[in-house]
Symmetry: C2
Subunit: 204 residues, 2 copies
DNA sequence: TCGTAAGTGGAGGGCACCGTCCACTTGGCT
DNA sequence: AGCCAAGTGGACGGTGCCCTCCACTTACGA
């Protein structure tokens, strides 16, 4: 990729970078269904320029989210390095859910680009998480009937909160995660305060 | 409404009913974004017929889901009649989430038709639920920092599971609800078995 | 300085959807 | 049986999206 971009003309390289930045911003803010034209316009280029760099919308999505996926992987692997298994486990859930709540496009990008993209990243992350789960169970802090598939459950549930505006979703996500972690664990401690999730708020 | 429908010609009344039945079926199965034409076709009528009865797509949605909303209200009010406050509380969460998981359009209909529709049903249901919450807290089974707004939290989270096919979503919903109820409560008991929510499954 | 390959923008083709229009059909009263 | 208001269907206009095409512009090596 760097090999390709480095051979481009300077203005083209700059345009490409700007498009990518704008795409990330808009995807995070408004989800994946922002029109390509909106991205192009905000980046100050024509649609054709955008399509020259990213032949399809999906390819733009993939490119825009690779760093997020890599970030997830890093989170999981750092957590494995944490000497406290339970804290590592919690950190993963919290960080990933926070990322997801603050970026509307994240989950959609994950599922929409699923099969072709990042299979090796996905597999590595997945097995690292499984190890994390096992370690947390062995330490006696994580309930033994927790399944690694429950991560997907958490992600899907957390994704549902994205119906609310970003700030509300973020607060709601914190509370949801706290509830769930409490349930995943063998002990108990305090929750973050309730979120006044009236439907008026949820609907912006 | 009955007043209106009873004055219609017999064939028209029948067509109307069939359209509504088909709409409910398709909304449940595929969500609210089924094309009007698909509903008309499956109901064996033309698009114009559909629009004659329901001037806008939203009006069709409203009509199609009123019974579901009424059902929710009934669930909450029955739960208030349950002598066991905690069981009543759990029943509400379980039933509503089950309904939501088995009907893809449910939550979308709820939020999309929010302001104009059913405000009195909504308010009654809401205050009944608040009473249920208070009662469950007083009985000592529900954690005191539970907020009635957490119902919305649960609904949104549960709605996120709808990304998976209906049967998977239903199973996942059961598990999510079990986790959450366990967290809402002061005691603890067994969960339903884990759902193998691999992304392959989630993406049908 | 100048030629040219790389880069660019905007018009528009293709598609899917919502909702309308209007010429035709049909139920049901007399 | 016969009339006509009520009912019907499919073609069509409008909109918003993805993506392509092509005539024009510009960076940059010689």
């Amino acid at each position: 990729m760097t090999a390709e971009t480095s051979q481009m003309r300077a203005d083209a390289r700059e345009n490409r970078a700007r498009v990518l930045a704008v795409a990330r911003e808009l995807f995070a803010e408004r989800g994946l269904d922002v029109p390509m034209a909106a991205i192009a316009r905000k980046a100050g280029v024509g649609v054709a320029t955008l399509y020259r760099r990213f032949p399809t919308k999906e390819s733009l999505v993939v490119e825009a989210f690779t760093e997020q996926f890599a970030h997830c992987q890093a989170v999981v692997e750092e957590a494995l390095a944490d000497p406290d298994p339970w804290r590592g486990f919690c950190t993963v859930i919290e960080k990933v859910c926070l990322l997801q709540a603050s970026d509307r496009g994240f989950m959609a990008a994950f599922v929409s680009t699923f099969p072709e993209l990042h299979s090796e990243v996905r597999n590595r992350t997945w097995s690292a998480f499984a190890a994390l789960v096992q370690r947390a169970k062995d330490s006696g802090h994580l309930r033994p009937d927790f399944s690694p598939h429950d991560l997907t459950l958490v992600l899907l549930a957390n994704n549902g909160l994205a119906a609310a505006p970003v700030d509300v979703a973020t607060a709601a996500s914190r509370r949801l995660v706290a509830y769930l972690l409490e349930s995943f664990r063998t002990g108990t401690d305090a929750l973050p305060p309730p979120v006044p999730l009236s439907l008026e708020l949820v609907l912006r």
